[in-house]
Amino acid sequence: MKKILALSLALVLALSLAACGGKDSSQPSGGDAQPSGGSDSQQGADSLPGEGMRIALVCDKIGVNPFLTEMVRALDETAAEYGFTQVVVECADNAAYEDNIRALVAEGCDLIIGGGWAAGDPLDKVSREFPEACSYALIDSEIDNELVKCISYREQEGAFLIGKLAAYTVDGESHVYGGVHCNEGPGSWKYRYGYMEGVKSIDPEATFVFNYTNSYSDPAKAKELAIQQFEQGCKFINGAAAAGDSGVYEAAMEKGFYTSGQDVDETSADNPYIVSSQLKDTYQTVKNLVDEFFGGSWTPDNTAWGVSEGTIGAVNVTHDSPNPRSDRLTDEEIADIQAVVEQMKSGALDMTDVPAEEDYSF
C-alpha cells in the first residue's frame, strides 16, 4: 500500500510537472537555439568580429518585465549580428549575483552587463579582483568604480512629461494624483519627483498619494493599491510598478480612472484609460553598449542618458504609438508638452539634479 501510494504520488507529480514543462519548453529551447542558429546562418561570412566571444547579461528574474525582456531582445539580435554567444543569467537572489558574475569571469566571458542596481556591488567587487579578465558594464545604476561602465538614466525627465500629461488628462476634475511604485527607494524617488514637478507645473493645487508593491511583479497588489488610490479621489494613477502595472490597467478599466505605463509602449486599443507610457529604452541601451564594444570605441566611462539621447521619453509626446490617442488630450496640450521636450534638448530646462527626498517639500 505504502509503496503504491508513493509511486502513484511520484507519477502524478512527474506528469503534472511534465505538463507545466511543456509550456516552458518553447522559451528556453528557443533562446538556446539562437546562438547555434545564429552562427549557422552566418556560415558564409565566417569572420564575424564576435566569433568565439561570450557576452553575458546578469539580471533579476526576467518573466514578463519589459525592462529586462527588452535587454534580452537586444542581446539576441546583436548576437546574431556579431556572432558572439549570448548568455542570459537570471539571479533569484542577491547572493547569486556575485556567484554568477565570478563564475562567468572564471568561465571566460568577454563582457558582463549587469541589468539593474542589484548587480552593482557584485560587479564592483569582482571587477576589482579581475580587472583584466573581462569588460564590465552596469545599466540603470552608478557605482564608484573606474573599471565598470555605468549607464544611468534621467528618468525624472520622462516622469516630468508624464506629470504634465496627467494634469492635462484630468483637466482639473480632481487635484489628487496617484502613483503605484515598486519600492520606496531613491530609484523611485526620481520618478516621483519628476511626476510631481510635471503635475504641479500645470495644477499648482495638486496633492499626491504614492504606494509601493515591494515587488517587481505583483499585479494583484498593484491593482488593490490603485483601487484604494481611486477611492481617495485620484483621477490619474501613474503606473511605475514594473510587471505589476498590468494590475493598475485592470483597475483603470474597472473604475474608469486614467493611467500610464512604464518602460515600453503600454497603450492599447483595448484599454482607452492608458493615456501614455514613460519610456526607458533598455533595448537601445544594450544595443549601443554592444555596438560600442565591437566598434572599438569602448571606454569604461560612465554616461547618463535622458530625453536628449532618445532613451527616455513618453508615448504620444516623444514617440508615436500605433494606438489611438485618448480624447482627453488635445493637439495644443501635446504641443505644449513637446515644447518642454525641446527645452530639455536645448538645455533650457535642466533636470539633471534631483533634490534629496528629505529636502523636498510637497
Binding site: G22, S25, A92, L104, E142, I143
Partner: protein
C-alpha cells in the same frame, strides 16, 4: 565483537541516510522529466550540474561558501525544533543579529580585534533577545510561537530595511543601492582560497555543528530540551524547569541564527544590504535541510551542503546550457516533498499503532 559493532554502525548510518537518499533519487528523477520536457538530455545536464557544484574545486568552494549560512540556520532551527519549539523565525533573528553586528562594526571605534569581538557578541545578543520575544509571549500569554516567530520575520526585515534606506544608507556612487557602508578591512574574515570567496565563515559553521553535537549528546540541558520535545508532560513530571529550558533554547537558537548572517557580512559581503538575507532564503533552505535530516546535526551539515550545491549547480547549467534556474528549484522542492511523504507515513503509522493500543475505546 568489533566487526559486529562496525556492522551495527553501518546499519545505523544506512537507516539514517536511506530516506534522504531515496528522496534525492526521486527528486532527480522528476527533475529529469522536466529537463526532457525542455528538450535537453538529463544525463548531460546532471553531469554538468554536479561537475559545477561538487567535483571541480572552484565550484566546490562556491558551494561551501553558499552552504555556510544555510548550515548555521539549519542548526538554529534544529536547536529549537528538537526541544519542541517550532521556531520559524530564524530569518528574523538572523536579520536582527546581523544588522546589530554590522552597525557595531561600523560605528564602534577601537582596534580591529576588540571591535570584531564586540560586534560578533552584539550580534549574538541581539539575535538571542529577538528570539526571546516570542518565548516570553508564549510563556506569559500562551501566544502560539509558530505565529509570533513567523510574523517577527517581517518586523525584523522591515526595520532593517528602514535603516538601510534612510539613516544608515551608504551614499557613495549614485546612492541608489540600499546598503550600509563597508566594514573596515581588519574586521573581515580571512579568505581560504585565492580564486573564490571561500572564507573562514565555513569554519565557524563547522564549529557550530560540533557545538550542537556536544550540546545535544553530552549536556544535561541537551537531554532536558530533547525530553521536552518528545513529551512535555513527561519532562515536567521528571522535574525539568520548562520555562528555563524554553528561554535557553530560544536564546541559543537566536544567537546561532545571528551567526549565519554575521558570517555572511564579515566573510563575503562586508556590508548589510537590504534583503540580502531574506531574498536568499537561507533560513528556509536551512529549515528544509533540518527537516530532511530529521534534526540530526551531522545530517543537517551534509544536507545543507547538498542543497547549496543544487543551487550553485542550478545557476551553472543556466549559464552553460541555458536551462532555466527553476529546474534546480524543482529538484530541490521534489526532494523536500518526498521527504515529507516519509513524515506523513510515519505519522499515519504512528496513529494506527496508537489506535490499536487504545483498542478503539475512544472513537
Amino acid at each position: 565483537m568489533k566487526p559486529s559493532k562496525a556492522k551495527e554502525l553501518a546499519g545505523q548510518i544506512w537507516r539514517a541516510l536511506r530516506q534522504p537518499l531515496a528522496a534525492a533519487v526521486f527528486g532527480l528523477l522528476v527533475g529529469a522529466v522536466v529537463i526532457l520536457a525542455c528538450g535537453q538530455n538529463p544525463v548531460t545536464v546532471y553531469i554538468e550540474m554536479f561537475n559545477k557544484s561538487f567535483f571541480t574545486p572552484y565550484y566546490l568552494f562556491s558551494t561551501l561558501t553558499r552552504a555556510t549560512p544555510i548550515i548555521i540556520c539549519a542548526m538554529a532551527t534544529g536547536m529549537a525544533w528538537r526541544a519542541g519549539y517550532i521556531n520559524i523565525g530564524v530569518e528574523g533573528q538572523m536579520v536582527t543579529g546581523t544588522f546589530a553586528a554590522t552597525v557595531a562594526a561600523l560605528y564602534i571605534p577601537g582596534p580591529p580585534i576588540f571591535v570584531g569581538l564586540v560586534s560578533w557578541i552584539a550580534g549574538m545578543a541581539a539575535g538571542a533577545l529577538y528570539a526571546l520575544l516570542p518565548a516570553v509571549l508564549n510563556w506569559k500569554f500562551q501566544v502560539s510561537m509558530v505565529i509570533t516567530t513567523l510574523m517577527l520575520n517581517y518586523v525584523a526585515n522591515n526595520i532593517a530595511s528602514y535603516f538601510v534606506t534612510y539613516p544608515l544608507k551608504d551614499t557613495s556612487g549614485d546612492g541608489l543601492a540600499l546598503q550600509t557602508a563597508e566594514i573596515a578591512e581588519g574586521l573581515r574574515l580571512t579568505r581560504l582560497s585565492s580564486t573564490s570567496t571561500f572564507n573562514a565563515g565555513f569554519l565557524i559553521a563547522a564549529a557550530v555543528v560540533l557545538l550542537m553535537i556536544f550540546i545535544t549528546k553530552k549536556t544535561v540541558f541537551g537531554y532536558e530540551s530533547k525530553m521536552g520535545g518528545f513529551n512535555s508532560s513527561f519532562a515536567r513530571y521528571g522535574g525539568t524547569k520548562q520555562v528555563k529550558v524554553m528561554m535557553i533554547t530560544m536564546a541559543l537558537s537566536g544567537a546561532i541564527a545571528s551567526l549565519a548572517g554575521t558570517a555572511e557580512v564579515f566573510g563575503l559581503k562586508f556590508r548589510y544590504a537590504d534583503g540580502m538575507l531574506s531574498s536568499t532564503n537561507y533560513a528556509w533552505t536551512g529549515l528544509m535541510a533540518a527537516l530532511i535530516a530529521d534534526l540530526d546535526p551531522a545530517g543537517m551539515f551534509f544536507v545543507s551542503i547538498f542543497l547549496s550545491g543544487l543551487q550553485i549547480g542550478g545557476s551553472a547549467i543556466q549559464r552553460s546550457l541555458g536551462i532555466p534556474l527553476e529546474i534546480a528549484t524543482i529538484i530541490q522542492c521534489c526532494i523536500t516533498l518526498f521527504v515529507s511523504v516519509k513524515l506523513v507515513f510515519r505519522f499515519t503509522r504512528g496513529k494506527a499503532r496508537r489506535e490499536e493500543a487504545k483498542g478503539g475505546a475512544q472513537a
